[in-house]
Amino acid sequence: MHNRSNGNPGLSRRQLLKHGACSAAGIAGLHALWNLGLVSSAAAQGPGSVNDYKALVCVFLYGGNDSYNLLVPRDGTHYNVYAATRQNLAIPQGNLLPITPNTSDGSQYGLHPSCTQMKSLFDAGRLAFVANVGSLSYPMTKTQYLNDSVARPPQLFSHYDQQFQWMTSITDSNQGFGWGGRVAELLHTLNGSSALSMNITLLGANTFQVGPTVAPFSMGTGGPQGLAGFWGQQGQRRYLAFQQLLNRQTPNLFEKAFADTQKRAIDTNALLESALSGAAPLATAFPDSYLGAQLAMIARTIQVRDQLGVHRQVFFCGIGGFDSHDNQNQDQPGLFADLSASLGAFQAAMAELGTENLVTTFTSSDFGRTLTSNGDGSDHAWGGIQLVMGGNVLGKEIYGTYPSLALDGPDDIEGGRLVPTTSVDEYSATLAKWLGVQPGDMATVFPNLSRFAHPDLGFMS
């Protein structure tokens, strides 16, 4: 970790801003704060202090979703701007599925024709969009970007870095803790002494769910998988020896980490297997897709929350394929159809389980894409549209500000790359607050949140 001095008299405020100097209670103090226990939630909320259940489900759209083809202006004036900019990437106006937000911003909107379930959920008030969200270190206008007068998030337009920034919600740190992990650091005590991590991933290792002491538990779409081949007397002997090898003291950190992972897998699989074994199958049918299978497994895990004895959970899942440099018009309909149908099935499963108001699902993605075409696709850009879904979502609305899609317009920094008007921090904090992070802890979990105008975007009830 590197230190950023903000006491250098030689630096103007502009330079400090430009170079991303942190506030005094910035990143450097984050780890220390946890260790010193200077957080109110964990202290106030011991095991058993809540009886309710809440879960967040992150659906990460890897590659950078071209979301300005997901939620499209459909009234004549705004559609024409959209079509003039997007050219051969534009969705035909007549194909858009019309939606009407409760609050009008003067435009009319439509969804990509593949998004029928999304439209139903929107119309039913279960789903909302958040417009033009992206990684920001500070609020930033197009002019400030072009003048280079405010610190930009590092490595803009790079997949890995922008994913990292979405997951950490701290643009100016390379510390590998995600906001889901930091939230779990505060709230996992609500789950008592469960051996199951508060954070569960269906998509393997990720930064989002890692906290100073919290690591996500990884499982496949088939659920927990046990170790094979330890039956009979010989098997028991073998299992004992296998465990002895895992428990051997070793100075080597890699051997330790390997043994710890295997041991964690054994313990947690047993716990999950026993909880899931008694559960009735879900009546809701999920699409036969990878995302559908991940969300189905998440639904089954939520189904057995009482058997697991958990009160707060953060799930992670997602799919790739959104990096549509090529063949966008051919590939995008299938991606959106899968997303829409999988989300629709998941929300139906939540209704079936009576957990509609207890679970909030949200999307994240590396970045938005260029509004302009590279011939048959789009390139990496910045601000994009995300969606939030659940019974506690104040749905049928578009939050934030839908940007101008005009080339060289007020939001376009160049080539149809839009400077975000809502920060990832504001988006993440709104979700974390709903899950139960207390106001006094918000600055610890989101150290840069105070730089932005809307610590709560208002999309959660």
């Binding site: 590197h2 950023r4 330079q15 991303g20 590659g63 900019t85 997007r86 050219q87 490595q155 997949h159 890995y160 870095d161 390379n174 590998g176 393997g204 290792a205 890692v210 690591a215 538990f217 990884s218 496949g220 998988q225 170790l227 094979a228 081949g229 010989q234 002997r237 020896a241 296998f242 002895q244 090898l245 051997r248 070793t250 080597n252 950190l253 890699f254 330790k256 980490a257 390997f258 043994a259 992972t261 295997q262 964690r264 897998a265 699989n269 790739g320 990096d323 440099h325 090529d326 590939d331 260029t370 302009t372 075409s373 590279n374 011939g375 696709g377 390139d379 990496h380 080339l407 149809g416």
Partner: protein, 549 residues
């Protein structure tokens, strides 16, 4: 991004447009140059030989260990350099020519055959390492239907793995498989009337992943820092756009029109009418002149990239991570980068010399002694399995090599990563002591609770249902030849010592030895094969075997 930022005052090699003279003397036919060897040559012990072969091949066998300890490293390097290149594509093309349907499954069969049986092990091991840097993947819809193209891509890596980097960079760039994967194929010049800009995909990733990385590096791989202690980006968006314009105007060899869509595996060829003619801003203010041909622009840009001082430390460090240790010291990186910059004969990017420098470095030899806590790496799951199969000369039923989906069990398969960022990123740190210590361990990114269990279960299959003579063999499981070991089963201590030599470079701890010997001893003495299998299973699923030190 580097986790450990040093405010080092080390002067980076200065680099300017004027210093673009590059020496592209390949090593083919020439001397291997450095003559480096890791300690006494021949190796002082078979354990030293086994340790060397664990890093430089798909796994040691008793025969190879013995041979190396007789002929020595120098002769071994020479032999490997001159070994005939094993290729995946020609057999597939032959099938295709005979009207057979060729699939990615058959590509995997060729990969297994070469990894397990190829004589050019060093080259193939490096090709595999490069396949995790120059990533293309058959999970992409653009590639899944083109096993011949993908196998030719792998062959390209194998042919160039011990050659020079500049050649490798251009050969990869021009494969139609990379052309489709990162959309340089049919990338066209600007068309303002239709708001069409050149595609930035290949431009961005060749810089970020295949050559220089995101931030300026010192010669030892640590990031250079500015006055605010911040890393310094190597390029920005206008540079990406400049390279995007360079990579315009390329199409299939033999294309009869721009929209030509018949796949072939030959290097892409230029189409000048689709190539951007104007100037292009490239790295550090260097401008590619207007009016050049697509080929001239490509050569100019690749020369510039390959001569950037970041390349040696950036890629050298990653090769060290693939072959030797996850957290090389800056000094180790610097020594490798120095060979990258000049192989001793004035050639830059001599990959054989770089490979030798990596494998023979004092830290590679002594790191386990000097830094027992942090030296080494988690073995890639696929390499844990190739090592087992090579150690026991395992052969697939009917010699068909039909292990098509190792990714299902092990989380990886050759040229089958989820994205261009590979199965794992060089900077991945698993939560816990490794992350807290500022260290990385990339392979843990695919060693989650889910994957570790599926791999352990796969090893159960490969041992208990994977020996010669097993009654119900599976087409995806090679069968171990363990008759010699069965002959040792009456002496558990001798058996375990033998397995230690073969699989663990004689590095097994006494405590582990006691546990395994005890398990063998407690197994029915009359069932000798079972005794061998029990020992094998415990070893290949153990933390000690899984970590290369």
């Amino acid at each position: 991004m580097g986790r450990e930022l040093r405010s080092s005052a080390k002067a980076a090699a200065t680099w300017s447009a004027a210093a673009l003279t590059i020496l592209l003397q390949g090593c083919s036919g020439g001397s291997s140059g450095s003559g480096l060897v890791p300690g006494p040559d021949p190796p002082a012990s078979e354990a030293q030989a086994a340790r060397f072969l664990t890093r430089s091949t798909f796994g040691p066998s008793a025969e190879e260990i013995h041979k190396l300890s007789v002929i020595g490293y120098t002769a071994w390097f020479d032999e490997q350099r001159n070994a005939t290149v094993s290729l995946e594509r020609p057999p597939l093309s032959q099938l295709d020519a005979h009207g057979h349907n060729v699939s990615q499954e058959q590509r995997l069969e060729q990969w297994w055959k070469i990894a397990l049986r190829g004589d050019d092990q060093l080259r193939q091991r490096l090709a595999f390492a490069w396949s995790e840097i120059f990533v293309v993947s058959d999970v992409a819809s653009a590639l899944v239907g083109d096993p011949i193209g993908v196998s030719e891509y792998y062959d390209t890596l194998a042919r160039d793995a011990l050659g020079d980097y500049r050649t490798l960079l251009e050969d990869v760039t021009r494969t139609p498989v990379m052309g489709r994967y990162l959309s340089m194929l049919k990338n066209q010049k600007e068309d303002l009337a239709n708001n069409i800009r050149p595609d930035e995909n290949y431009a961005r990733e060749i810089l970020q992943l295949f050559s220089i990385g995101l931030v300026k590096l010192n010669a030892d791989g640590t990031p250079q820092l500015d006055a605010f202690n911040q890393p310094i980006p190597t390029y920005d968006q206008p540079v990406v756009e400049g390279f995007a314009r360079v990579f315009t105007g390329w199409n299939y060899a033999g294309a009869t029109n721009w929209d030509f869509a018949e796949w072939n595996y030959l290097p892409m060829e230029p189409w000048e009418s689709y190539h951007e003619a104007g100037t292009k801003l490239l790295l550090d203010g260097v401008v590619c002149p207007a009016g050049q041909t697509a080929q001239q622009d490509l050569a100019f840009a690749l020369d510039l990239v390959a001569s950037h001082p970041n390349v040696g430390p950036f890629l050298g460090r990653q090769l060290i991570q693939r072959l030797v240790t996850s957290n090389p010291s800056p000094e180790y990186v610097a020594r490798v980068a120095a060979v990258w910059a000049d192989d001793g004969n004035g050639a830059r990017g001599n990959l054989l010399a770089v490979t030798q420098a990596i494998l023979t470095d004092p830290e590679a030899v002594q790191g386990n002694v000097t830094h027992p806590d942090t030296f080494g790496k988690l073995k890639e799951p696929l390499l844990r399995l190739t090592a087992l199969w090579r150690a026991f000369d395992a052969s697939f039923p009917g010699n068909k090599y039909q292990y098509w989906y190792p990714d299902d069990d092990l989380g990886q398969a050759p040229l089958r990563a989820g994205s261009v960022f590979n199965f794992f990123t060089p900077s991945y740190a698993p939560p816990g002591e490794i992350q807290d210590g500022g260290l990385v361990a990339p392979e843990f990114q695919i060693t989650t609770e889910q994957r570790i269990t599926s791999a352990t279960n796969r090893f159960w299959e490969c041992v208990f249902h994977g020996y010669q003579g097993y009654s119900n063999p599976s087409a995806d499981t090679a069968l171990l030849h363990i008759n010699p070991e069965i002959g040792m089963a009456d002496d558990p201590a001798a058996l375990v010592e033998h397995l230690d030599q073969l699989l663990m470079c004689s590095e097994m701890s006494q405590e582990m030895r006691d546990i395994v010997v005890s398990m063998v001893t407690d197994t029915d003495p009359a069932d000798r094969r079972q005794r061998v299998l029990e020992a094998l299973y415990l070893i290949v699923t153990s933390p000690e075997y899984s970590v290369q030190k």
